[in-house]
């Protein structure tokens, strides 16, 4: 059986290439049909906000790549509810169907995967 990998994405989309590069790991793994999860944690939750305008920063929009995750077979998408509430985003509609996890659910999640990459 394939080993499972949890990718923890912790950077805002405007904070350099990390958000993009975490997502690329997920998309590449999805293309190989591997069991993957993607967790948005800390500033990584900003990636989930709809109606971003990255062109104002001469940046490309990541949202389309994020939307591609289910098409690549990456459907285990999680967000830390504490990270949302710390940033005043608890009531905010999110651009992706993600499961919200509290702190104890987070540690169970990390436990469930064979390997973890945090970016």
């Amino acid at each position: 059986m394939s080993k499972s990998l949890l990718i923890i994405s912790r950077q805002a989309p405007w904070a350099g290439p990390s958000a993009r590069e975490a997502l690329d790991i997920a998309l590449a793994g999805g293309a190989f049909d591997l069991p993957l999860g993607l967790l948005f944690l800390d500033d990584g939750v900003f990636q989930l906000l709809p109606e971003q305008q990255p062109s104002a920063l001469q940046q490309k929009d990541l949202t389309a790549n994020l939307q591609a995750l289910p098409m690549f077979g990456v459907e285990a998408l999680y967000v830390a509810s504490r990270s949302l509430s710390e940033r005043g985003l608890s009531e905010q509609p999110l651009a992706l169907p993600v499961e919200q996890l509290d702190d104890s659910a987070l540690s169970l999640l990390v436990d469930r995967y064979d390997q973890v990459i945090t970016i």
Binding site: L5, Q11, E21, I25, A28, L34
Partner: protein, 130 residues
């Protein structure tokens, strides 16, 4: 035990040195390294063009010597490397850039190599992530 080792930090940060010392300890302990994978700013740890002062540690050179002596499979992510100006001769020519700063034993390849290494290894150990 089989290890995959991923490095996300450039040579001038402590994580790169720690990753190298860990990799050395893995082999000294009789274990196996299935692959080194340099991603994000870790691609700079493979650059041939970093210059250290004479009395300072030359980490890219140490990495190169280690990989050559141990005949390791050492992959630098091509997308991350191109973005950061770490190019081998072939890519420098392809994109018409004036210089190459990556050579053997490093291989430029894609993220599939990271996933393959993860599947082959008992443990994935990452250095320098955020």
């Amino acid at each position: 035990m089989k290890f995959a080792i991923a490095l996300f930090a450039p040579a001038h940060l402590p994580s790169s040195r720690r990753a190298l010392r860990f990799a050395e300890a893995v082999l000294a302990g009789g274990h196996e390294i299935v692959r080194l994978f340099f991603y994000q700013d870790g691609v700079h740890s493979a650059s041939s063009n970093a210059v250290s002062a004479q009395d300072e540690l030359d980490l890219p050179a140490e990495w190169r010597t280690f990989v050559e002596q141990q005949k390791l499979d050492a992959v630098v992510c091509i997308a991350a490397a191109l973005r950061r100006g770490v190019l081998n001769a072939e890519e420098a020519q392809r994109y018409q850039k004036p210089a190459a700063n990556l050579a053997a034993p490093w291989e430029l390849s894609g993220l599939g190599q990271l996933h393959e290494a993860n599947q082959l290894a008992d443990r994935l150990i990452c250095f320098g992530g955020h």
